[in-house]
Amino acid sequence: MPIQCSSCAKNRAMLRRPKTGHSLCKSCFFWAFEEEIHQTIVSARLFNPGETVGIGASGGKDSTVLAHVLKVLNERYDYRLKLLLLSVDEGITGYRDDSLETVKRNQQQYDLPLTIVSYEELYGWTMDAIVKQVGLKNNCTFCGVFRRQALDRGAMMLNVDKICTGHNADDVAETVLMNVLRGDIARLRRCTAISTASDGEGGIPRCKPLKYAYEKEIVLYAYFKKLDYFSTECVYSPNAYRGHARTFLKDLEAVRPSAIMDIIHSGENLSVKEGVKMPVQGTCSRCGYISSQALCKSCVLLVGLNRGLPKLGIGKHHRLHDKILAQQALTQQEEKKLKAMNF
């Protein structure tokens, strides 16, 4: 016997919602999914009318769905937003070049202007070149730090008011778990916020409209909408520890589907003891980007790369920041420690 849609009670249900367990027909699912994102946007007051919003587009499922839904909602509810696509080219052959093709197709399908900023033009290094120097270990540190800044720099070039990224509920929950496992109390407190503070002078506010959308539902949405997206793992990411957290989260979801939302709820309600030392936000004295240290992470990484000491930015070497700023030479012992290991 075909199951009826629990929402409209007319059509045949096509799917069971991973989030709630209800059986829904295709159109009711689309409606519910989009409406939820609309509610998130409205209740968290993510956008103001007339703003220019840059969508961080990687070509993957999350950002593809985000671009699609934002375009739909912008027209349906008349947000009066000017939407742009913003992509970062890390320079990874066999991965990013292919996914950027998808973004270019999206640009045409959704009729949104696309800007691509590349590591090569910003930093003078492609990820391929970085991996050649650093090796396969720790390369994600470079990529992650650089991408964050690249997105900001691209956004500044385009003069956008806000950036939104395709982080979904699974990503947020996973980050909560990761920060607990790493004991990173500062990030634990920040990671569940739907948008970064807009009043801060450092950088453009970012937000996550898909924060409460399950990854599985995003895939379902893309599948039924026949959206064109790119799904390949990055060729350089082994991601051992995060992999454990991810598997754990998926297992939790299998035991109790609401677990993802429950973790986010926990994260939102945590509060940190007074007197726990928190990093203070400042600006990098070299490039002016936000940083809690004298030098921002990407400057340290870059200096490390340019001097042939890739490990400079890996781990904590705050003591060396003054030396780098003063452009002094490092001692031989220090240099030896920071060189890439040769096998």
Binding site: S7, A44, G144, I185, Y212, Y241, S258, G315
Partner: protein, 499 residues
């Protein structure tokens, strides 16, 4: 950033093999019998000193146990709580250099009724434990879980007690010393406790058949093991709290090791208990007001305890629990445990990192607590309600999803929907619960915190809850209704009413 091992490179590289005939790193004389941390080999004697010191240091540092105070030790028979009992005994013995000055008692909750043990097995476990308890000479209480059906509703009434001023500990110690001098070296305490031995096991360890069936009924309505474990924990806390209250204990000691607390922390995050995380894992938890829960074993890893129990022959009794012999993915609690234990094997800093995270947290105080009336507390876990969050929250988003997928067509008489689920729609928009309550079924949802709601959601029939819970729920609802009725005449509402 993605790979955590990046910062541990150097640590991982210097793996040293334990030498067979190493000397103790502390006294440099005795032969090492075990390695506690990387490279730290201890001999038997030094290990014992180190272990004992840690326990005393934990109590000394926190200064919450007052001299002469009655303290209840919650002993499950497992290795950690048995070790805790051994430590307390050690501290009470005549040879101890600085004798512990509180008056301990023991409580064991017999959960065999829900863990699938038959009467014989339960009896056997109780006999084993009793023989251990008797040798300690401390008063003990053996309480079957079935007794929750006889609890008064006052267990759930939050008791508000003013914070102890900081100096009171010292004052209490001084007073104790003075009275000890007049009484003569505190001998009476020992005699008193031994004199009490006669009436120790008076606490009825029997239970009525109807209560046994009621308990079985209650647990059979819980559909998931996750909910069962959570409910068992809640009921156990209530029973211990009640026993402590009627016997005049003002502190309860729990045997939570560092490993257990790390597991508990992650479990509670996964269960949506983030708001009460600090209270659930800190050294002391004063949510019940007059009875404070303390966790003196929180500095020991389960491995250390295993070593100690083995080396010094601390007896423990194995009693199967709800999740014994279940698969890794049987419940959230079970899954988290296996996750942490496995991760700890590969990354030895996991437990201590997670545990240290817990020390940096404190329980979020809901903003409305600044008004005269104290904030509403959850009916089951008695932590502050965390469901009043603003519109942009996970709590609200979940309700929204439920509402949207249910659609405009309200279906009545859905078989899979418990009575609580039906109320969700009313709760969704304003946070105010419907007044048109279905007859018979009590709307518990509004009285519960986020996580306890999840447990109740996994329940097919809420009417099987013990009477003290349902009658307290009704009482609170009547008060809420009353308040609503007179709401227009109340001046300056503090917003502290129940949702």
């Amino acid at each position: 950033m993605c790979q955590v091992d990046e910062e541990y490179d150097s640590v991982l590289e210097q793996k040293s093999l334990p030498a067979v005939s190493k000397k103790c790193m502390k006294c440099k004389e005795g032969t090492a019998v075990l390695i506690i941390r990387v490279g730290d080999a201890f001999c038997r004697g030094c290990f014992k000193e180190y272990f004992k010191h840690k326990f005393r240091a934990m109590l000394g540092k926190n200064r919450v146990l007052f001299p002469g105070e009655k303290v209840l030790l919650a002993v499950s028979g497992g290795p950690v709580s048995s070790c805790m009992l051994a430590q307390v005994q050690e501290g009470l013995s005549r040879e101890a250099p600085k004798k512990l000055r509180f008056m301990p008692g023991i409580i064991y909750i017999d959960e065999g009724g829900v863990c699938g043990q038959n009467a014989e097995e339960r009896e056997k476990a109780v006999v084993q434990l009793e023989s251990i308890f008797r040798t300690t000479g401390l008063p003990y209480h053996i309480v079957p879980l079935e007794q929750v059906f006889t609890l008064p509703e006052s267990v759930l009434e939050p008791v508000y007690r003013r914070e102890q001023p900081g100096s009171s500990y010292k004052a209490a110690v001084d007073q104790h010393i003075r009275s000890e001098v007049t009484q003569g070296h505190g001998k009476p305490t020992v005699e008193e406790s031994q004199g009490a031995l006669g009436q120790l096991s008076l606490q009825a360890s029997t239970y009525k058949l109807e209560h046994k069936l009621a308990l079985e009924g209650l647990f059979s309505t819980l559909k998931t093991l996750t909910a069962k474990q959570d409910m068992l924990h809640t009921l156990r806390q209530h029973l211990i709290l009640h026993t402590a209250r009627i016997n005049g204990y003002s502190k309860v000691m729990f045997g939570d090791s560092c490993t257990r607390l790390a597991i508990k922390l992650l479990t509670n995050i996964s269960l949506g208990r983030g708001a009460a995380l600090a209270a659930d894992t800190a050294f002391s938890d004063s949510r019940y007001g007059d009875v404070v829960m303390v966790r003196p074993m929180r500095d020991y890893s389960s491995k250390e305890i295993g070593f100690y129990n083995r080396l010094f022959e601390v007896q423990s009794v194995f009693i199967p629990g709800l999740d014994t012999k279940t698969a890794d993915k049987a419940s959230i609690q079970r899954l988290t445990e296996s996750f942490v234990v496995k991760l700890q094997a590969d990354f030895p800093s996991t437990v201590s990192t997670v545990y240290r995270t817990s020390e940096k947290l404190h329980t979020a105080c809901p903003p409305q607590s600044s008004t005269t009336e104290p904030a509403a507390k959850c009916l089951l876990c008695l932590c502050a309600l965390d469901t009043k969050a603003d519109d942009a929250s996970a709590c609200h988003a979940t309700l929204m999803s439920e509402q949207l997928s249910r659609g405009t067509v309200e279906k009545t008489g859905r078989t899979d929907a418990g009575c609580c689920q039906g109320q969700k729609q009313a709760c969704g928009d304003g946070g105010c619960c419907s007044t048109s309550r279905a007859p018979g079924a009590t709307d518990l949802r509004s009285l519960l915190c986020y996580s306890c709601r999840l447990t109740i959601k996994d329940m097919t029939a809420v009417d099987s809850l013990p009477p003290y819970i349902s009658s307290e729920a009704e009482k609170r609802q009547r008060r809420a209704a009353m308040k609503k009725e007179i709401g227009e005449f109340l001046l300056e509402d503090g917003g502290a009413d129940d949702e």
